[in-house]
């Protein structure tokens, strides 16, 4: 149990996926114009990362058993792409309201490196691995992503009305805002275990 807590704090704050590991920067910059869309994206990421962690963990066991670890990248990305497609079909069929909330964001996650990143990290970086830890790591990393994107979206909404020099408009000012957020998250590195 303490190890689970350690994974959660580590993934959410200390090694935040976006702000210290630089995974999932594309959606972080691209889908953070409004807080609602940012939240939708975040929830979709939490969901997919949790499920993908469990499935890729199981598949990795099979790969190791057959001595085919070199296929990891190919198999993982195909599984994730297929999984997202499946999740989309299921959600569409059984929960139209959830689909209308998450629907648009699900396909985007295929090219979100955070999902593949967590899948690979689960099998290479966690010191003790089992299904539970992999799942917790996936979900907690997703939560870290959601927190970061929500903070950025909040800042960007405020900046809409601000008077920004022309050359800074758009991505540059967003990156600078992200820099400030990353600076504040760097304080958590004092917690490192």
């Amino acid at each position: 149990m303490p190890y689970v807590l350690l994974i959660v704090i580590n993934a959410v704050f200390v090694n935040n996926f976006v702000l210290s590991r630089f995974l999932g920067i594309c959606p972080f910059l691209g889908v953070s114009k409004k807080t609602e869309t940012a939240l939708g994206m975040g929830l979709a990421v939490i969901f997919v990362m949790g499920v993908a962690s469990v499935i890729t963990y199981a598949i990795n066991l099979a790969l190791v058993a057959f001595g085919m670890e070199y296929l990891q990248t190919i198999v993982f990305i195909l599984v994730i792409a297929a999984l997202i497609q499946l999740v989309e079909i299921f959600v569409k069929r059984f929960s139209p309201s959830l689909y209308s909330a998450l629907g648009v964001y699900l396909p985007l996650i295929t090219t979100n490196c955070a999902v593949l990143g967590v899948a690979i990290m689960n099998v290479t970086e966690l010191s003790e691995v089992n299904v539970l830890y992999a799942f917790v790591n996936g979900v907690a990393s997703g939560i870290g992503f959601t927190i970061a994107i929500l903070i950025l979206a909040g800042i960007r909404e405020k900046m809409e009305t601000a008077d920004i020099p022309a050359a800074f408009k758009g991505f540059p000012i967003t990156l600078l805002a992200a820099s400030v957020i990353a600076m504040s998250f760097a304080a958590f590195s004092g917690l490192s275990f």
């Binding site: 594309c26 990891q72 195909l78 497609q85 490196c113 408009k169 991505f171 820099s179 990353a182 760097a186």
Partner: protein
């Protein structure tokens, strides 16, 4: 091959380095851009690795463009890209084990680099092999150039060295600011570089005039004619167009179920 034709062949290449610069203009592939550029050498090798995958996957996808069914094209592209990125990973592990350790996770993550999928979707799947290879080279070179530049600046400001060579007087004078090799500094340097790049490209474009924007592309695949007054908006749009494309593709796939 006459001169006109030669210039036409080279066009995607020069476009890829400046006008469509992946890092500063299209804002694609930001994860490796920020993560590995703590030193110039890392940026250079990441750029070269990505360029190799990009050229190969563009070539293959362009060859197969008439055989891949529209509905399953995204998974097909991903499969081609994943093959080459695994290849790069293996080659690196064998011949450059130190670099393999440094780049680590991000070498595997070349496969989800959105530059690759974006070029496959918006260029290679619509154009013949030679222009696609040229486009791959151009975008790849642009990416390598930007990554090396970012790495150079961050390394210089953060550790006071130049391509791994320590500049002692600077280090003794206390110039190195560790923040520049930390994540926060990465975002900051990237932001400022983008501003500089935008200003420079804009002034060059103004000097050249609107002559270039009049010459139409061989295929109407690219819609990246930069409206100079709405520079940053166009960047946003490029990204959103790409995302919309992917969403669209997947909804077509999903809808058939």
């Amino acid at each position: 091959m006459n001169k006109q034709k030669f210039l036409e062949t080279l066009e995607p290449l020069t476009k890829g380095v400046f006008k469509n610069n992946a890092t500063f203009r299209l804002v694609l592939g930001t994860c490796p851009t920020l993560a590995v550029t703590t030193a110039a050498v890392n940026g250079l090798s990441m750029g070269l690795a990505t360029m190799f995958v990009l050229v190969c996957s563009n070539a293959i996808i362009s060859m197969l463009r008439n055989f891949i069914p529209r509905k399953v094209r995204i998974p097909a592209y991903i499969l081609v890209i994943a093959t080459f990125s695994t290849l790069v990973e293996m080659i690196m592990r064998k011949f450059l084990p130190d670099m393999y350790e440094t780049l680590g996770l991000f070498l595997s993550l070349v496969v989800v680099n959105c530059i690759l999928l974006a070029r496959a979707e918006s260029f290679a799947s619509l154009n013949p092999v030679l222009p696609s290879v040229m486009d791959g080279l151009g975008i790849g070179l642009g990416f390598t150039f930007s990554l090396t530049l970012l790495g150079l600046v961050r390394e210089f400001l953060g550790t006071g060295s130049f391509f791994g060579i320590r500049i002692e007087p600077l280090i003794e004078a206390g110039l190195p600011m560790t923040i520049f090799v930390l994540p926060a500094g990465g975002f900051m340097v990237y932001g400022f570089m983008m501003v500089i790049f935008n200003v420079v490209v804009k002034s060059i474009e103004n000097a050249v005039g609107r002559r270039k924007s009049c010459s139409s592309e061989s295929v109407g695949a690219e819609e990246e004619i930069i409206d100079e007054d709405k520079l940053s908006d166009t960047e946003n749009d490029n990204m959103e167009t790409l995302k919309a494309e992917i969403v669209h593709a997947s909804t077509i796939e999903g809808g058939k179920e």
